[in-house]
């Protein structure tokens, strides 16, 4: 299903627009058109000096800076430090979140006890925890990890909880008919049934943790990491560095997405028709 509105071929022929027909550009080229146009525009602007050169480094400058940073190994080191911090926080937060979510999903009592407070907890914007966390755990590594873990915790919790809660009731009946015990139900039905949702949660948690990593590095005390470098870029007006950092941040986001998708496809094979 591509276009619902403009699906009448004859209509398109009658109204011939003055702009180049997008349909004539081959599909394979389409994804690259906008980025390439953007880069060309960038080059033109930065070279023509229309934009303030302080704010608009040329692409060559960015590449040069990238090469220099790569040679020094500096940016890579910061990048890896961020990544490590991110993953540690993610693992801790999502593990606790998923476990708690599953347990709450199973237990009606726990659900009722903890549900409201978790709901309220979720309404407190993540970054509002920064002052409290830095006060309780310090602005160092511990504080950052706690913050990242907190970011990963919520989506992992909510989705695994929902995963269990949304297992069709009819499956519970089935398990009764098959004379399953509690353990059988969990192993055969609850866990695999909740898995897709758990994955959704982990995927969000991954994204949230990455955001929180950047936030932690910007808002809590300096430490090796991309956040510090971005600060540096901002304060010294090193736009080339800033753009490099943005690129790395985006790259990780894309990689996480691909990874999560691939993993999900492998582990939840049965969903594919």
């Amino acid at each position: 299903m591509s276009t619902i509105i403009a699906d009448n071929p004859r209509r398109e022929e009658t109204a011939r627009p003055w702009w180049p027909r997008l349909e004539h550009i081959p599909a394979a080229a389409r994804p690259f058109i906008l980025p390439v146009l953007l880069l060309i525009l960038w080059e033109l602007l930065s070279h023509a000096g229309v934009a303030n050169p302080v704010f608009f480094p040329t692409l060559e400058q960015i590449v040069e800076r990238g090469i220099k940073e790569a040679e020094e190994g500096n940016l890579i080191g910061n990048f890896l430090a961020s990544l490590q911090r991110d993953l540690l926080g993610f693992i801790a937060g999502s593990a606790i979140g998923t476990a708690l979510g599953l347990v709450i999903g199973f237990s009606r009592l726990l659900r009722r006890l903890l549900g409201p407070i978790l709901l309220v907890h979720r309404q407190i914007a993540l970054f509002a925890w920064v002052p409290l966390i830095s006060m309780w755990f310090g602005g160092g590594e511990t504080g950052k990890l706690v913050f990242i873990a907190l970011a990963a915790f919520q989506p992992a919790l909510v989705n695994s909880w929902q995963g269990v809660a949304n297992i069709p009731r009819s499956y519970r009946e089935l398990s009764e008919v098959l004379t399953y015990g509690w353990f059988d139900y969990v192993a055969m039905i609850a866990i695999p049934g909740a898995l897709p949702s758990v994955f959704t949660g982990l995927h969000s948690a991954l994204i949230y943790a990455w955001t929180a990593t950047v936030g932690a590095e910007l808002l809590l005390n300096i430490a090796p990491g991309l956040g510090g470098r971005m600060n540096e870029g901002q304060q010294l007006f090193h736009m080339d560095l800033l753009f490099l950092c943005l690129f790395l941040l985006g790259l990780v986001g894309v990689l996480f997405n691909l990874l999560a998708a691939a993993l999900e496809r492998r582990l939840v094979r049965w969903r594919i028709q």
Binding site: I222, Q235, L236
Partner: protein, 342 residues
């Protein structure tokens, strides 16, 4: 193994882990504390530099992640104490530290009075805050007349340069920029009332002091050595070079200290001036609503280690002392030293 964790409120340019402007930074670069423990391999000294300055350092103190706060400004220290952070004031780490008011070169702001209704960067919660408030007060203004944006020193510099704020109070960071014409300094406390400057101190946590009085003594010894080195006019250029590790050029320190002896600021001595300054700050902090409880200053000061170190190093009369109003009480031996001619 004992960890001896020292925190420093500030960073150099682009967040590099170096301080400037005080003898603590000298002790750090010359590794004087580490030297003190070189026979004790089980004692490890760590340094943490806080971009968020005093307030961030306080957080680490509260979380039990630091033993020494070296160079912590007066206001954050007082705030911490008012909230029950158990610290002891060991020595003064800096006083008479001037404030500069920087504006963009083409700014229409020519005096403190002109700041009214402008957007000004201020690093809230640091010793800049009350110092700034006092400057404003002296010029008939108050915090309410000004739109303050809380930014750390590095961010404030960037914001000023990029025109995001109209003015900024700060320290020697602005001198180099002024030299290059990027900003213009329109006011300094240097020739104003001598009580207007900023102060900072060397603190130890009460827990650490109780558990390790011997180590505490050694740390004080080390920093007194640093102060001794830093106060000596013969080392003037060396001191500036050491501070230049922070990324600020040595010349800007020369400008900062123009017509001023190093010992004027780089003194560990706790004299009437210091005691009076802290008492005054505590009162003002309360008056401005920055703290809610009274802070008892006298019981906070624990100068026995300092006295011991001064005695040990025969420096009891090395630094000059000042009275509560900032007038010199006694001359110090240090005033005999002369800058090396080169």
């Amino acid at each position: 193994e004992t960890l001896l964790r020292i925190g420093y409120p500030g960073t150099g340019l682009d967040d590099r882990p170096f301080g400037y402007g005080d003898y603590i930074a000298i002790g750090h670069v010359k590794q004087l504390v580490e030297a003190e423990f070189k026979d004790q391999p089980d004692v490890k000294v760590t340094w943490t530099f806080f971009r968020g300055a005093g307030p961030a350092l306080n957080e680490s103190l509260a979380a039990g992640q630091l033993d020494f706060a070296a160079g912590l400004g007066d206001l954050p220290a007082i705030v911490g104490r008012s909230r029950g952070l158990a610290t002891e004031f060991l020595a003064s780490a800096g006083s008479h530290d001037p404030l500069y008011l920087a504006v963009p070169p083409n700014s229409s702001i020519h005096s403190v009075e002109d700041l009214r209704d402008h957007k000004v960067a201020q690093f809230r919660g640091t010793n800049l805050q009350i110092a700034t408030d006092r400057v404003l007060e002296a010029h008939g203004l108050s915090e309410k007349n000004i739109r303050f944006v809380s930014l750390d020193s590095n961010a404030a510099t960037a914001a000023l340069v990029s025109g995001n704020v109209d003015a900024s109070f700060g320290g020697s960071e602005y001198l180099d920029l002024a030299k290059h014409g990027v900003v213009k300094i329109i006011y300094s406390t240097k020739n104003d009332n001598p009580t207007l400057g900023r102060n900072s101190g060397l603190y130890v946590t009460a827990d650490f002091e109780k558990a390790h009085p011997d180590y505490t003594a050694k740390v004080v010894e080390a920093f007194v050595k640093a102060a001794h080195f830093g106060a000596d006019e013969a080392n003037r250029q060396d001191v500036f070079e050491i501070w230049a590790k922070s990324g600020l050029p040595a010349e800007s320190f020369a400008t900062d200290f123009k017509d001023e002896r190093l010992a004027h600021r780089l003194s560990p001595v706790v004299d009437d001036y210091i005691v009076a300054r802290y008492k005054d700050q505590a009162e003002r902090a309360k008056a401005y609503g920055l703290i809610k409880k009274d802070v008892d200053i006298d019981s906070w000061f624990n100068t026995k280690y300092l006295k011991q170190a001064l005695t040990d190093q025969k420096l009891e009369h090395y630094w000059p002392t000042f009275d509560a109003k900032g007038q010199k009480l006694t001359d110090g031996e240090v005033e005999q030293t002369r800058a090396a001619t080169n």
